[in-house]
């Protein structure tokens, strides 16, 4: 068994039924591969990783991997993860969510986790649709698109998850696509090693629902679309506004240092304990 597959198999739960549950060609499997490779490269032990997910197609991810895994209620993964991290800061907490899970029902928790700068990694698989429930529009479904709940025309404007994270105060935000698998590896590695709230938005596709309804072809065609519309941050800097129209940037969008929640809370503990002695 060669390197990568041995690596992947080392982290899988072998009493789970493989192949996994996601549709043929779904990007979640690619994201999972990148996640496992990045964890391995960072050298975390399995015991210290807590992988938290919400509800939806991504929700089913943790069950397949041999970490401490938690499958929470829809949209609340980040709030559960906050509790885990604060209770045991030694744990490496990673949260995987879908676009609806993270910024629709979970939007409030997403912006506050970013604002608080809790030391954990949020991986958001953005396929612009609610896949598990059969193809309803989500906060990242582009204007004009067809979904099972916007069969006439989708009249809402989409969020830009990465910009939302940056505005909310996340110190590390990266965006990749499932086509650019190696970029995902490096983004996730940087996110895991980042001290503070690190967001990785993974542009993916749902050819079963979104692709079919909008005649965008299968997994291959939708990944081709990702290739054609993604522009690295470095290249985008050289492009004009006009050229950038309809494109999205990939790579590290922001990486700055901000005070981390628990380091700040330690100050409170010191003050509280010294005050108590008096």
């Amino acid at each position: 068994m060669p390197e990568i597959t041995k690596l992947i198999h080392k982290y899988l739960r072998h009493d789970k039924k493989f192949p996994h549950v996601w549709c043929p060609g779904c990007g979640i499997g690619i994201m999972l591969g990148a996640l496992i490779r990045a964890i391995d490269r960072c050298g975390f032990t399995k015991d210290e990783i807590v992988l938290v997910s919400g509800i939806g197609c991504t929700g089913r991810l943790p069950v397949y991997v041999d970490f401490n895994t938690l499958h929470t209620t829809h949209g609340r993964a980040l709030a559960f993860a906050t509790g885990i991290k604060l209770a045991n800061p030694k744990l490496k907490v990673i949260v995987v969510m879908g676009d609806g899970d993270a910024v629709a029902i979970g939007g409030n928790h997403f912006i506050h986790a970013a604002r608080r700068n809790i030391d954990l990694t949020a991986i958001i698989l953005n396929n612009s649709i609610y896949g598990m429930t059969g193809g309803q529009y989500s906060p990242t479904t582009p204007y004009g698109m067809k979904t099972t709940t916007s069969s006439y025309i989708h009249i809402e404007q989409a969020f830009n998850i990465s910009e939302l994270a940056v505005t909310a105060g996340a110190p590390f935000v990266g965006r990749g696509t499932v086509y650019h698998a190696k970029l995902l590896d490096s983004l996730m590695e940087k996110a895991f090693l980042k001290k503070g709230f690190a967001v990785v938005e993974v542009i993916s596709h749902c050819h079963t629902q979104f692709g079919k309804l909008n005649k965008m072809g299968g997994a291959v065609e939708m990944m081709q679309w990702q290739k054609d519309h993604a522009v690295t941050v470095e290249k985008a800097a050289t492009m004009s506004e006009e050229e950038l129209k309809g494109k999205f940037k990939i790579g590290v969008l922001v990486d700055k240092e901000l005070p981390v929640y628990l380091d700040e809370y330690e100050k409170i503990r010191q003050m509280a304990m010294s005050k108590k002695e008096k």
Binding site: M1, P2, E3, I4, T5, I8, H9, L12, F18, P19, H20, W22, C23, P24, G25, C26, G27, I28, G29, I30, G33, A34, R41, V178, Y179, H180, A181, K182, L183, D185, S186, G218, A219, V220, M223, Q224, A230, T232, K235
Partner: protein
């Protein structure tokens, strides 16, 4: 691409997990793979393989493995990311 021939790269497709999604075949930079009538990939031109490993990286089901790489995987990472975007 001269020295590639001796370093035979073996590609193994685990049909138990493969869901015939076609991603590996579609994005293989060297056109090594092809799909049978059921849509499952198979190695059509093994000699063309440049052992870049992209098929394995992009397989959603971990069903394809590239046995021998001429370069250590980590090295590929930085350099490849830049020029294949």
């Amino acid at each position: 691409m001269s020295g590639k021939k001796e370093k035979k790269t073996k590609i193994d497709i685990f049909k138990g997990w493969c869901k015939a999604c076609g991603i590996c075949e579609a994005f293989c930079p060297a056109g090594v793979l092809a799909r049978d009538e059921a849509g499952y990939p198979y190695v059509k031109f093994p000699e063309k393989c440049i052992s870049c490993g992209w098929c394995e990286l992009r397989c959603p089901d971990f069903a394809i493995t590239v046995y021998k790489k001429d370069k250590d995987f980590k090295e590929i990472d930085e350099e490849e990311t830049k020029n294949t975007l």
